[in-house]
C-alpha cells in the first residue's frame, strides 16, 4: 500500500515539497495530498512593488493547482484541525485525511486586529499595510494622492515575513516621492521595535546608513501598543507618540488559525515548534514543518523555505524508510533588498553567520553583498521568473547551493 503524505498549504513551501516528493516517489510508493483554502498563489515578494505601480496584482497571482505536478490531489478547503493522536487531518468540507507523514506549510497570517485601534478609524484610509493584495492595492491609490506630510513606516512586532520588506518599502517610497517631485514636502520616519534598522549588527549598520543618506529618520525600540487613526498617532506601550498623516504598517503575524485548534501542535503564537536542523516538529516524529509556519530562528522568507527543501525531502525519505534523520538545514537565507533608483543590495546568511560584505555566490561572483548595485536589482526582477519556474517545481537554482557559501564573505568583519 502506498504511504500517505499530506501537505498543509500550497504556498512556496507546500508546493515545492509536493513537487519534490512527487518526483521522488512513484504513485505506487506514496500518495500526496495538498490542502489550501483557495486557488490563488500570490508571489509575495511582488507585493512590495504594487503600491508604487511597478507591479499589477494579476502579474503576481496564479492558480495554486496549476503549480502542482500531475498525481497530486488538491483539496481546496480550510483545515479544520490536525489530530496528532490519530494521524489525521480534518478538513472544513468534511473530508478526513489520514497520513503517514504530515508536512505543515501553512505559513503565517496577518493579525492587525491584535493591535489596539489598528483596524479602527482610518484603516485603509490613512493606515495601510502592503502585506496582502487588497492592502497593497489600496495603498497604491493613497500614495498616488499623497503630496506631502508625515509618512511613517512601522512594524509592530517580530516575527514578520521578509523582515527587510518595510525597509525596502521606505527606500522605494523615497524614490517614488522624488520622481513625483514631492519628496521635499514629505517627512519620512522608520519606526521599529528592534534596537537598530535590522536584526543583525553589520547589516543594521549598512541599512541604517542608507536610511540616513535618504533623509529617513530612524526610531528604534518603539513597541507599538496602539494606532490612533483618527488623530494620526502611533503610541508605544511605554507611552511615546509618533504623529503621522500616512501610516504604512506591518501588523503582527501568527501561524494559521487551525494550529491553535490542533492540540499539541503549536506555540502561543500558533507557530509550530520545530527542530532547526532536521525540520521535524517537536510534537510528533511523523510531522515535519517548513517555511513561515515554523518557530526556527531563521527569517520568514521564500529563500529560506527553498533552501529547506532538500534537507526536508531527504529526512522525510529517511523517516519513511525507518532510518535516523541525518540531513541538517543551516538556516540559509538570501535576500535582495531594493534600495530605489534601480538598485538593490544582496544579503546572504544563516543561523550562525550574519549578513556580511563580500561577493556572491563566491569570491569571484558577480553580485556584491551588502552593497548597492544595478545587477542586484536585475537579480531581484529576474527572481520572479525563477520563482514560478525553478523554486515551485522544487528544483535547485543553478550555481546557488542550499547550504550557505562562505567563500566570498568577508568573515573577519563579523562581530561576535
Amino acid at each position: 500500500m502506498p504511504r500517505r503524505i499530506v501537505i498543509l498549504g500550497a504556498g512556496t513551501g507546500g508546493t515545492m515539497m509536493a513537487n519534490r516528493l512527487r518526483r521522488r516517489y512513484e504513485p505506487s510508493e506514496a500518495s500526496i495530498a495538498v490542502v489550501d483554502r483557495d486557488d490563488r498563489h500570490v508571489y509575495q515578494p511582488g507585493l512590495l512593488f504594487v503600491p508604487f505601480g511597478l507591479a499589477q496584482t494579476d502579474e503576481i497571482v496564479r492558480s495554486r493547482r496549476r503549480q502542482l505536478r500531475n498525481g497530486i490531489d488538491f483539496h481546496e478547503t480550510e483545515v479544520e484541525q490536525v489530530v496528532l493522536e490519530d494521524d489525521v487531518v480534518r478538513l472544513a468540507d468534511g473530508t478526513v485525511l489520514a497520513y503517514d507523514v504530515l508536512v505543515v506549510a501553512t505559513g503565517a497570517v496577518l493579525r492587525p486586529e491584535e493591535t489596539e485601534g489598528l483596524t479602527g478609524p482610518g484603516w485603509n484610509e490613512r493606515v495601510f499595510t502592503f502585506y496582502d493584495v487588497p492592502g497593497a492595492e489600496q495603498l497604491a491609490r493613497a500614495l498616488d494622492d499623497f503630496d506631502g506630510g508625515r509618512l511613517v513606516v512601522n512594524l509592530v512586532d517580530m516575527p514578520i515575513k521578509c523582515p527587510v520588506a518595510p525597509l525596502e518599502f521606505s527606500f522605494l517610497a523615497d524614490w517614488y516621492l522624488t520622481e513625483r517631485g514631492v519628496r521635499d514636502k514629505v517627512e519620512m520616519t522608520y519606526v521599529t521595535p528592534l534596537d537598530a534598522a535590522f536584526t543583525r549588527p553589520v547589516a543594521s549598520q549598512h541599512l541604517g546608513g542608507i536610511l540616513e543618506e535618504k533623509g529617513i529618520q530612524l526610531v528604534t525600540e518603539f513597541a507599538t501598543g496602539e494606532v490612533d487613526g483618527s488623530q494620526g498617532r502611533l503610541v508605544s506601550w511605554d507611552e511615546r507618540e509618533i504623529p503621522f498623516d500616512l501610516l504604512v504598517t506591518v501588523p503582527v503575524h501568527e501561524g494559521a488559525p487551525y494550529v491553535t485548534r490542533s492540540e499539541g501542535l503549536g506555540d502561543a503564537l500558533a507557530f509550530v515548534p520545530t527542530d532547526p536542523g532536521t525540520l521535524q516538529s517537536l510534537a510528533r516524529p511523523n510531522v515535519f514543518v517548513l517555511g513561515d509556519a515554523t518557530d526556527v530562528p531563521a527569517s520568514k522568507a521564500g529563500s529560506v523555505t527553498h533552501f529547506e527543501g532538500e534537507a526536508l525531502t531527504e529526512n522525510i525519505d529517511r523517516f519513511l524508510a525507518g532510518e535516523e534523520l541525518s540531513a541538517t538545514f543551516d538556516g540559509h537565507a538570501n535576500c535582495f533588498i531594493e534600495t530605489g533608483f534601480g538598485k538593490a543590495l544582496l544579503i546572504d546568511f544563516n543561523y550562525e553567520t550574519e549578513p556580511l560584505p563580500g561577493r556572491f555566490p563566491n569570491a569571484l561572483g558577480p553580485l556584491p553583498l551588502l552593497k548597492e548595485s544595478r545587477l542586484n536589482h536585475l537579480g531581484k526582477l529576474m527572481f520572479q521568473w525563477m520563482y514560478w519556474h525553478t523554486l515551485l517545481p522544487g528544483r535547485s537554482i543553478p550555481g546557488i547551493p542550499d547550504a550557505m557559501p562562505t567563500s566570498g564573505k568577508e568573515l573577519q568583519r563579523e562581530t561576535v
Binding site: A223, W237, V252, P297
Partner: protein, 105 residues
C-alpha cells in the same frame, strides 16, 4: 565573557550582562541585576514574569517573546512594559538569569 563576584556569588555574564549559566543564578542575583537595571524593587508581579520566563527557558530551551508573555504569563503586555521598561522579555530574561532571548531574525 567574564566571571565575576556578584552579590556574594560567582557568576559568568556576557558583555550585555546576561548570565551564561542559568544554574549559577539565585534570587539574590536576580535582585542585584534588577537594581543595576534600574528596578529598585522586584514586586510579586515582577517575580511572576521572571519565574515564568525562567521556567519556560529551562523546559523548552527558548524564552518567550513579549507577545507570548502577554498571552501566557498572566500579566498583560501593557503592564509588562510598566514593570520592565523598554524591553520586558530581555529584561526579565536578564533578571531571571537566562541567556538573552535569541529574538527574531
Amino acid at each position: 565573557m567574564t566571571t565575576i563576584e556578584f552579590v556574594g556569588s560567582e557568576i559568568e555574564r556576557d558583555a550585555e550582562g546576561f548570565c551564561v549559566h542559568p544554574e549559577q543564578w539565585n534570587r539574590t542575583i536576580g535582585e542585584g541585576i534588577a537594581l543595576e537595571s534600574g528596578i529598585a524593587e522586584l514586586t510579586p508581579r515582577h517575580w511572576q514574569v521572571v519565574e515564568f520566563m525562567r521556567e519556560r527557558y529551562l523546559t523548552t530551551g527558548t524564552a518567550p517573546s513579549v507577545r507570548a508573555l502577554g498571552k501566557e504569563s498572566g500579566v498583560p503586555v501593557k503592564e509588562l512594559y510598566a514593570l520592565f521598561p523598554k524591553g520586558p522579555a530581555k529584561l526579565a530574561a536578564k533578571i531571571g538569569g537566562i541567556p538573552k532571548p535569541r529574538g527574531c531574525i
